[in-house]
Subunit: 197 residues, 2 copies
DNA sequence: ATAGTATTTGACATGACGTCAAGAACGTGG
DNA sequence: CCACGTTCTTGACGTCATGTCAAATACTAT
C-alpha cells in the first residue's frame, strides 16, 4: 500500500469550513484541494465524490454538536437548561468572522430540493435526523421539568416549539445578522414558555 | 426593433417555479430555456444573467406574497389574524406536489453566504426586506390588538417571535414534511402568545 | 528484492455560465 | 415602397465545475 500523503481529518475540517462558509454548491473541490494542499483527484480517490465528502465532513460536525447540546440541556433548572440551549444555538450560528450561520439549516434548505433522489435525499435525512435528536433532548428536559414541577404542559409540543424557534433564529441571523435581536427573541421565548420569571 | 419571440412574464413564472423547486444554484439556464421554449442566449439578452433573472422573478413573488400576508393579517380578532397568517404560511410552503418549501427561506439560506459580494448580498437584502416587511405587518396587528385590549405586551417582540416561528416552520417542513405537525406548532404558538383560548 | 496494492497525477468527457459577432425581423423615415 | 437602424436570436467560443480513467508511483509484506 502506498501511504496517503495527506491527513484525512485535516481535509474533513477544511472541507467543512468551506462548505459552511460558501454553501455546498458554492464550494468547488478545487477550492478544497487548494486549501488542503492536495490534488483534486486524491479527494475523489479518498472520498468518492463531493457529496460523499460533504456527508462525511458534516457527520463529524453533527456528532460534536449533538454532544454540546446534550451538555447544555443536561443539568440545572429547566430555565437554565433552555437558556443554555439558546445560548449555544446563537453562539454556533454566530461563530466565525464573518458569522457563518447554522450549517444544518443552511445545508437543509440548500440541499433539500424536491427532485432529490441522490444526495439531496441522503443529506435531507441526515439533517432531519439531527433536528429530531435535538428535539428529543429538549423534550426530555421538559419531561424532567414536569416531574420537578417546573413546567406543566405537553413536553413534546413544547420541545417542538423551542426547536422551531431555534431554526427560525438561524434564518433571521442570515437575514439581519443582529445578534442582540436574536438574544431578545430567545429570552422572550423562554419567558413565554416558562412564565415571566 | 425586432419583436421579442417569447412572453416576458411566462418566462419569469417558469423560471421562478424551477428556482423554487430545485434551488437557484441547482437550476441551470438551459433547464429554464428548454422549459420555456427559448434559446439560452435570449434569456441573457433579456435579463442579463441568471442572477438578474432570479432577482426579477423573485420580486414578482415577493410582492404577491406580501399582499396576501397583508390580507390575512388585516381583519378580524387578533387571534383570527394570527391564525390566518399561520395558515397562509403553511399553505405557501406546502404548495406544489411535491411541496416546495418556502422560497424566501430557501433562497436566503442558499444564497446568503459569507463571501457574498455580488448577488449574494443583493439577494440577501431582498429576502431580508421581505422578512422585515412581514414583521412590520405582524407588529401592526399586535399594536391594534393592544388598542382593543386583546393583547398586552410588546408588539415588536411579539411580532419577532411569531415571524421567527414561521421561519422555523419553513425549516421543519424541509426536515420532516409533516403538515399536521406544522399545524400543531402553529396552534400552540398562538395559544402561547394569546393565552389558552 | 520483488510483487502487489493503494495512492497520486494528468488527460479527458460533459455540462454549466457567460460573451461575442453575425444573422434575422421588424418599425420608420425618406 | 424600400432601405436603414435597432433590437432580438442564434451558434461558436472560453472558462471552470464535476467526475472518470489509465498510467506512474511509493510503500508493505512475503
Amino acid at each position: 500500500m502506498r501511504p496517503r500523503e495527506f491527513d484525512h481529518d485535516d481535509v474533513l475540517r477544511i472541507a467543512f469550513d468551506q462548505f459552511w462558509r460558501k454553501g455546498v454548491r458554492g464550494t468547488s473541490l478545487s477550492d478544497i484541494a487548494r486549501d488542503a494542499g492536495v490534488q483534486r483527484g486524491s479527494l475523489y480517490n479518498a472520498f468518492g465524490s463531493k457529496e460523499a465528502l460533504f456527508l462525511t465532513a458534516y457527520e463529524r460536525y453533527a456528532s460534536d454538536y449533538l454532544g454540546s447540546v446534550q451538555k447544555a440541556l443536561g443539568s440545572g433548572t429547566l430555565r437554565k437548561r433552555l437558556t443554555a440551549f439558546f445560548d449555544l444555538t446563537i453562539k454556533n450560528l454566530r461563530s466565525g468572522s464573518p458569522p457563518r450561520g447554522c450549517p444544518t439549516t443552511r445545508g437543509l434548505m440548500e440541499l433539500a430540493s424536491v427532485e432529490g433522489e441522490g444526495l439531496d435525499e441522503t443529506a435531507r435525512k441526515m439533517f432531519a435526523d439531527l433536528v429530531a435528536r435535538i428535539t428529543g433532548l429538549v423534550q426530555q428536559a421538559f419531561s424532567e421539568g414536569v416531574e420537578r414541577g417546573e413546567f406543566n404542559g405537553d413536553p413534546e409540543t413544547a420541545a417542538l416549539h423551542i426547536v422551531t424557534v431555534t431554526r427560525g433564529l438561524a434564518v433571521l441571523e442570515r437575514a439581519f445578522g443582529d445578534e442582540a435581536q436574536l438574544r431578545k427573541i430567545a429570552r422572550h421565548t423562554v419567558d413565554l414558555v416558562l412564565g415571566n420569571r
